[in-house]
Amino acid sequence: MVKVIIDDIEVEVEPGTTILNAARQIGGDVVPPAMCYYSKLQGSGGKCRTCLVEVAAGSAADPRPMPKLVASCSTPVMDGMVVKNKTSERVYDNRAAVTEFLLINHPLDCPICDQAGECHLQDLGFEHGKEGTRYEEKRRTFDPIDIGDKIKLHMNRCILCYRCVYTANQLTDQRVHGVMHRGDHAEISTYIEKAIDNDFSGNVIDVCPVGALTDKTFRFKSRVWFLKPMEASCECTKCAGKAVVWMFGDEIYRVTGRKDKYGEIEDIDGKTAWICNECRFDKKDKTKWTIEGPRVINRHSVISQNQYLVDERLETKKLTGK
C-alpha cells in the first residue's frame, strides 16, 4: 500500500492507483471532476483535462514538485506524493479555463436538452464556469443525426470525451462508431449512418457526460427531476437485468443502468451491470419489472433535489476534523 496526501488528507491506496481514484476513496469535494474518464472503460481518460491537479511533491523518494499540472485520471500515485486539488489556486484557474474551452462550442441549449439536470457539463459549468462568454465567433454546428432507430446524436453538444467510442469498441461486437476529422471540427460518427445495431449499443447513452447521445424513446417526454428513480430488476437473457426505471406515477418513462455519483455504471456481483437494448428501449411496461425500492441519487446537481440525500461534506468533515 502507498500513502498519498490529497488536499491535506492522507489516504492509503493500492500501488498503481491513479490520483483520481485515490481521491474518490476519500470522496467529497476533494474529488476532481472527470468528464472523459470512466473507470469501467479501458483506456478512457486523459482527454478533457478537467481533472488536472497540482503535484506538490512527486514522491517520498523524489519530493520535487511536478512542473506542469497533471491529469489525475491517468497519473498513478507514488508513495509520499502530495497532491493539491481544491487547495490550489492554479488548479482552479486552469480548470476554469478548461471549462471555458469546453463551453465555447457548446450550444448551451439546456432548456431543451434531455440531459439537463443530470449533465456533468452543467455541474462543471456551475462550479467553474464564468458568468458570460468571451467567445464572439460562430460556434461549430452539425445537424442532429440518428444512429440506429433508438439513439439520437447531437454533435453540437458533444465534448469529444471518447467514452462512447470506447463503449462501442469494448461492449459491442463490431466497431461501427468512431471519431472522424480532426481538431475542433472532429465529430463522433458512424461510418454509415444508422449502422449501430447490436444488443449493447444503448450504453453509449449512459456513458455520455452531456446530452450528445440521447434515448429516442425518452426524448422530450419529461425533465429528469420530475421522475421517480426506482431500482428494478427483470429476467433477461442478455444482461444482468439490474436497472433503474424512471417513473411518473405508474408509468415507466425511461430505463437506465445503475449509475453511481460519478455517472458510472455500478458493479453488481463483480461485473459492470451494463444493460441491453431490450431492457433499455422496449421494457416500458411496469409488469415486466420487479421494483426493488427507491434509488438514491446523490449528485451535486439538480437531479438530487427531492431525493434522499446523504451529505458527503459531513463525511469529509469526519475524516479531516475540519
Binding site: 478537467t50 465567433e137 461549430r140 469529444l160 471518447y162 476529422h181 480532426r182 475542433d184
Partner: protein
Amino acid sequence: MGRKLLLEHANVPGIESFEVYRKNGGYRSVEKALKTMSPQNVVEEVQASGLRGRGGAGFPTGMKWSFLAKPEGVPRYLLCNADESEPGTFKDRYLMEKIPHLLIEGMIVSSYALGCNQSYIYIRGEYMWVLEIVEKAIAEAYANGFLGKNILGSGYDLDLAICPGGGAYICGEETALIESLEGKRGNPRIKPPFPAVKGLWGCPTVVNNVESIAAVVPIVNDGGAEYAKIGIGKSTGTKLISACGNLVKPGVYEIELGLSVEEFIYSDEWCGGIANGKKIKACVPGGSSVPILPANLITKTAEGTDRLMTYESLAEGGFATGSMLGSGGFIVFDEDQCIVRNTWNFARFYAHESCGQCSPCREGTGWMEKVLRRLEYGQGHMHDIDLLAEINKKIEGNTICPLGDAAAWPVAAAIRHFREEFEWHVTHPDEAVKRNFGIASNHMPLV
C-alpha cells in the same frame, strides 16, 4: 566553409544509386560497426558525440537510446520519424531525396546498436515521390546484402520497411506516429508509459528523426569524440538548416553548430542577406512552433552578445527575449511582411492539425485562429489581443502532447514583440485590409 558530414556527397551525380554511394565511402559505418564494434560500443560512441535529437526538442540521442527497456524475448523497434510537416522545415526531405542511402545506412547502424531486427521509416504522406526514392534505395540495400538475414556475415538480421503516413502533422509526435503505424487513428498517447518502455505493439521503441539517424553514420565512422569537437558546448556536430522566406539564397544548408546568426543570414556563403535589399523585420529560427524574434534580437541577444546557431544561444533569454533552434526551419521576414497575417497563418495550421483529443488544444487552437482572422481582416478589438495572450497561456502545458505548446508559443511571442502591429490592425481596419503584402500575398489574394 564549414565541414559537411551529411551533405558532403549530396551533389555527386547519381548518389541516390547504391554503386555511386558505395564508391563515395558509403556503408563504411555498417562494416565498421557490425565487424568491429558491439552494440554497446555504438551506443557509447553516440553518447560521447553529444548528438542531440534533430527533430525539434534537442533531447540527447545517446541518452534516449540508453532509456530503452531491454526485457528478454520481447522485440524492440526503431522507428525513423520522417513525418516532417512543420511549416518552414524541409531538411529531411532534401536529405532523403538526395542521399537516401545515408538514412538507410544510419538505420542499419542504429538498429544494430539498439538490437532491433525490424525497423520502420514513417514517411509523411505528402512525400510520395520521396517514398519511391527511399523504397528503391532499400531494395538496392537488400540486393547488396546490407539488409535482410545475416548482414555481411555478422549474424545480424534486419528488416527495414516504409510506412507512408496519411498527411497529418500530429503523426510526427512519437506516440501518435506509433498509433498511426499500428493502423489506428493518429492520436497521441497519454504518457507514461513512454515509448522506450511500451511503444509499438506494446514493445520498447525508439523514435528518432531522419537527421539524427543520418548523423550516426559520421559518428561511427570518425568516432564520437571527433564529432563532439565540432560545435560549442552541448551543441555538437553539424545541423541541417532549411532557410526560407525573404532571403537571397534560401535552401537547405549544413552548418557547424556555433556559426553566428549574422554570418548565416548575411554572408554570401550562406543565405546571402535579405532579398531585394530590404531590411529584416523578424525571424523564426526553428520552424513554425518556436517563438518569433524581432529584428533587434536576431543577431544579438538581449545582453548584447552575438547570437549563435546553437541550442543554447538561440534559447538565451528564455521566452522573453529568446527562441529555440527547434528543427532548423529558419524563416526570415522582411520589412514588408505582416506579422499578424503570419501569426494567423501559423494559428490556422495548428487549428487544422490539432488531433481534437484534448479540450484545451482542440478548442483553444480553433478559437485563436478565429480571433486572429478577425484581427487580420480589421474586425478585431483591443481586448482581443489580451484575450489571445490569455488563451495561449491556458493551452500551454495543459495538453497531452506538445502540439498545444507549439500552437501557443508563436502567438504569445508575436504579441510580446509586435504588439503595436496588432494594435495597428485594430485602429486602422481599412488600411489593414488594403495594404500591400509583398510576395506573401500571391497565393492567397484578399477577399
